[in-house]
Symmetry: D2
Subunit: 447 residues, 4 copies
């Protein structure tokens, strides 16, 4: 690098110029944002907001960091006013002084975003802005304030009271349906034929929508009506899976739940969605008595790797380690005898992991954390239930049914939140007790 | 009070018991609000919110003050945390410290209200809560913090970007129409027949709605299509006013604009409403070239009373005072000769009042303040334009047309906001210059 | 009239000239109708239909008879073609010959009406045309062909399969609600407040609509939720009647059913309406077990007058006649003792009239004919149940509950249609048997 | 066939038994239809109609002919009544006698179908019934009466006044969109991506719907916004065709129009559809001045084959025949020189064919017949405009623009209908005059 070639120099001179151009574009957009905040009239404000939206939406990708830098730097609270307000409040904690302090502490960015939001398409642009911005948050910790302001606003705007729960089926506009195909995160939708099967008469799909983001699902859940609790995912996903008469079903399996908007990270919708859908289906189909998920155990295998050293020292641990090592071979499950040997060892570990492994006092597995926090009960482990590549890599092919008993979710939730006690079936409890790690903790207590 | 009668003692013993009962009811409701805030799970939270809503909605009127007292007292920021957060921020004004400070400064009431809002009907209950609470604000300044928190939330929730502009006509559900009858503040609607006339083919009515308050207009405006600019209100309000073909009209008269929700005080909707309606009508009826109001001058007569002493000392002031005194007789306008004498004196004062009288650098008349701030122009004074009781008492029967020229509102607004200069017609300027008060100010400059 | 005055001669000369003008207007409209029928292209046809509609709608009332005359005279089948088609069919009854005969027999008016209907507003105009035309049918029997053609078309167009059953409540557009007020034929609606009571939470109102007549109810039914079967109409109609919780009701009372469109005379909607509404309410409110009407007996008193001579000769008839004569005094029911004496005589006659009086093998009372034909059962007679003027004049203040048992209507209907046997309660049967007329017929048989 | 094998005998014995089973099923369904017609009550009628619908819908395909046979045989008019009614009318052609005759001539099947239609799904089943039935009409001429009755009813039910024109785009429910893919008859839609391109911002799609057949387009038309009149179809159909800003377009090209329902054969919708869509687009996009089709000439090559003998005898005919023979080679257009030679000969024949070839006084080409009858003008021939297999086989790769000038369609239509004169551009006229066949007719006159 001592002697830059002509080309390198050329590139060197080009890049800065491009950077300058990006920077200039970002600056122009920012000027409109500044104008928006200083505007006093609502009528002119609406015009400026419209222009600011257009300017932001047409920013090229390379210009975004400059824009976020300016957004982070230029809308902080006024320190002098803040100090004065705090001192006044400190001296006399009156209502007026508190209100004044609250106003001075709020970043002017919040008012900026509220004004920006007045223009049609503003909400969508702000959600997209946060999505793009958080992608760079790790390398730009200075943007944290923007993130906090947007999260605070979104928490207010996307309040559950403003959301509508809508059924999605084959009568739904295509513009919404194509988003299911795009967003589905758990079990990919292969195309329109696949989608149509998932919206057939023995299936249900529900989503939350916000009035300012029409045709944009915030979160959606997929349900299959079955006879008995599903023990494997493939039969549900097969495009040519035979349809059953929904009136003959006794079980509703929630087999996929997808958060659609990265820009709404931190605003939770999922907890209520499951319960509301279960209630609604229970009313429409009184014969359906069982509401359960068919869920992966995404943290299982990486947890398994982490306990290796601990295992070695346990009695019989070496043999178990040896059995567990077999699953490193991607085809381990295809040989029946081999699979059976693995099963005997693996199931207790999976039960133990789900029932007892913790992270910050909560269940270690993220999916378990979600459902147990909702008040569900750990019901059944299903062997070779998801042999897809991801299923094998993360969950060792296992899936679990979390059971939602509407009359128990409240108390399960309470117990889980207050005492970190997990509600589970007798089988799961027994399997977990068989695990070699179980001796170190008291797994029998607290039934 | 030394020797309370038996009755007094009786009352004394009764009232406390009623007060105690009210207080107990308020306390019970408040306990649910406290539970709502401390609840960690969303599912249980939804149930608690529902119960809290029911408890609040069933509070008897006498219990409300106790409830608001508790609401004011029990949800303040934690002072120690606040101090610590401030000190940390003061020492190191990092993003993290600012975010922490912002969180500590926010009254927990805001989170409480956000949770309360998740239950169906929550938004409506909160708007009603503020309406009831502000009615007692003067005697209960300690409730100001509640008011500030609700106003802050509503400012976010009722952002223009979340409102829809809807036409209201005879095809609108009765549940909405009856609210027009109930709310109309400017020119009372006498009943369904009166309303039907105001929604006929040569009229328009538009309102802003919020998705969480279906069937509840937030603000509505009434428009009449006319040939030429209306000079009096009665012909517009008469239930048997002849209809004209809207295609033959050249003018749209905005003759009434009503804010419906006291609970949304301070959240302004009106500015944009007029302009959006004007744009929409301009597109639908290209022949309509004039958009104007027919407005009262509600502050005129009380201002007139206030300038009496000042007038006395002006040359010719006494004679004018004498003429102005005639309008104290409620029937002054019924004698033509008398009315004519009054007219000559009154018009210049009205023009002067609208054009030059100020309060805090803004137009003294509240209606003028609203329209001039919107960028409208003071166009024409109309003599004996509203001889209703209120019209005579407040505006001395005068009405004014504010003209909205879509290509001028921006610059009018700018000039008004920056330089407090009022845009006005040549006639108004001339009348104002004729006013005896005009010598003291420079009314010719700034054209 | 021998020597007509100047004025009379003047009037004489004026009237013909007016008549001529009307005739000319009718002729002009008819020319457009003729053009419409002879038009071969659909595009031009649509224009001509629009013009024909405008011409017809602007015809002054006096011009209508001339127009109907032309409509009757000018669109008859071509006799020569008809004769030829018949002869061909008579000689060879082939499909082709039958089809040809069917075409030749159809009046060209039908094709004319079908073309007229293609233009927006056409359906409404045709329904109005029949309404206006049938009003003069008695004096213009030559218009019967028009009536038959329109009835035939309407029977096809207003097929039940094309109608929608819609609930009407306070969320319904005012343009529909005002039509309820206008049309209600059984128990007049006094205004919007009265209407609101009838649409409250413990009431239901349903109507059939046709897609081509939006906002025009074809028939509507009013239902009250009650505890026990209503025995009088006033408590249901009182605008300040206390509301009950619909979940606490065990009975749905159909207290009014109104055909709205005279122009659709002969096309029946009512039979299905009651049953569909009963089914729908039964699903929504499982606790409601009783579906019944509260109906007048409009033919009762005129029938009573008709049997006078017959009565005189029966044993005890004179005394009964004497008792019955009391109801000629409009205030007969206000004296309790008097009313009681009347009751004893009147009830058996009313029961007999409803249960056994026939006209053309069907129930003599028109309301009984309707409900019994629908499969309802004669359940209970209610004394002094409708003391309104009309109630006293037609039904002697009596009202009857017809009971709709969903599992019996089929068989009741069958028995009534095939054997003219009326389904009735034990009480009604007993009362009818007590009637003096009952000895002449066998009222006990056929149970 | 003299000595039937065992197998044949077996089959012989099997088939009749299957036939018998089909026949029995058809008979059972027909019994319900008979019951439906004889039913007197509407309430029971509705139940019978529901059962009849279910019975018909579950008939296996082989049972349908038996069912149609019964439908043809058992619902004819009563001959004796018909004769009596005719004789009465013949003797006295009064209104009453005519009405009676009309009733006796109508096949009871019509009333049967009207009753069948009252049940939900009835209309769809009848439209499907006609679709299935007409497929066998050639071999079953005895079903013509059924066809005539259904066509008569459908002509009444699907009157233009009952249809709604709806835009179809990406916001339309998938259940409708998949039908476009299924039905598109002119230019096949390859799948959802292809469909999405055809519904993009620079395209429009409109369809007629009937309220009783929700989600079932009756006919739809596809439009592309272009700059200048399209000369070839491939650029419009390519899934990756670049999008243009609709505001920049000056032309709307109707490139596909599809009748969806075989069961509605004979009920025309297309004529009005094009004109209504053109009017609507003209209002929304005032810059679009040209409305034209891009249409195949499906009858061209078969007509060309038919004139061979006639050509041979014309001067120069042999040489032309030789040139025309080249197009029998499927790749003729791929050699430029060859194609150019063909072009010179082919274009005049195509112009002549479109402008002058007749069949029953109308244009010989079915697409020309449709558009010319609508009042369009033959505007431009486009060379190698559709090189798809079908395009080459039917139209020799040629396509034609029919121009819809809204202010001319009326007069064009009139001239075409009355005088069979085709409106055409100067170029088409010139090309047609160059055709060898042109000497035999006077092609220059009448302009």
């Amino acid at each position: 690098m001592n002697a830059p070639s002509f080309l390198k120099r050329l590139v060197g001179s080009v890049v800065p110029s491009e950077r300058r151009r990006s920077h200039r574009r970002a600056r122009q957009a920012m000027d409109l944002f500044q104008a928006l905040l200083s505007e006093r009239g609502e009528v002119s404000g609406a015009l400026v907001a419209r222009d600011a939206l257009a300017a932001y939406n047409s920013l090229p990708k390379p210009a975004l960091p400059s824009f976020y830098d300016a957004l982070a730097a230029e809308f902080s609270p006024n320190r002098e006013e803040l100090d004065a307000a705090y001192n006044a409040y400190h001296a006399d904690p009156s209502q007026e002084n508190l209100i004044r302090l609250q106003r001075c502490v709020e970043a002017p960015r919040q008012e900026l975003f509220r004004r920006f939001n007045t223009t049609p398409g503003g909400t969508a642009a702000l959600v997209a802005m946060r999505r793009d911005m958080v992608a760079g948050l790790k390398t730009h910790p200075e943007w944290k304030g923007i993130d906090a302001d947007l999260e605070h606003l979104f928490g207010s705007w996307f309040n559950r009271g403003f959301l509508t729960l809508e059924r999605i089926d084959w009568y739904t506009p295509a513009v919404v349906l194509e988003k299911l195909i795009e967003y589905e995160a758990v079990h990919e939708i292969a195309g329109w034929d696949d989608l149509r099967r998932r919206l057939a008469a023995d299936r249900r799909c529900f989503a939350f929508f916000h009035p300012a983001l029409p045709h944009e699902p915030l979160i959606f859940i997929e349900v299959a009506f079955t006879k008995g609790m599903s023990a494997a995912i493939e039969p549900l996903l097969a495009p040519d899976a035979p349809q059953i008469d929904p009136q003959s079903a006794d079980t509703a399996i929630f087999y996929s739940i997808t958060n659609c908007q990265t820009g709404l990270r931190g605003i939770s919708f999922g907890n209520l969605l499951i319960k509301q859908v279960a209630q609604r289906l229970g009313q429409e189909f009184p014969r359906i008595k069982t509401f359960a998920t068919l869920s992966p155990i995404p943290g299982f295998r990486s947890w398994l790797r982490g306990i290796g050293t601990q295992l070695k020292d346990l009695p019989g641990g070496a043999a178990q380690l040896d059995a567990l090592a077999r699953i490193e071979n991607p085809d381990w499950h295809k040989d029946e005898a081999n699979a059976e040997r693995v099963r005997k060892v693996l199931i207790p570990y999976a039960a133990y992991y789900l029932a007892h492994a913790k992270q910050d006092r909560e269940a270690a597995d993220p999916v378990a954390r979600f459902h147990l926090g909702n008040g569900a009960r750990l019901e059944r482990l299903n062997w070779l239930a998801d042999t897809s590549k991801r299923g094998m890599q993360q969950s060792a092919g296992l899936m679990v049914n979390y059971l939602y008993r509407l009359d128990e979710v409240e108390s399960n939730h309470e117990t889980y939140v207050r005492e970190q006690k997990v509600s589970m079936s007798r089988d799961i409890r027994r399997f977990a007790a068989e695990c070699a790690l179980a001796t170190s903790v008291d797994v029998t207590a607290g039934d």
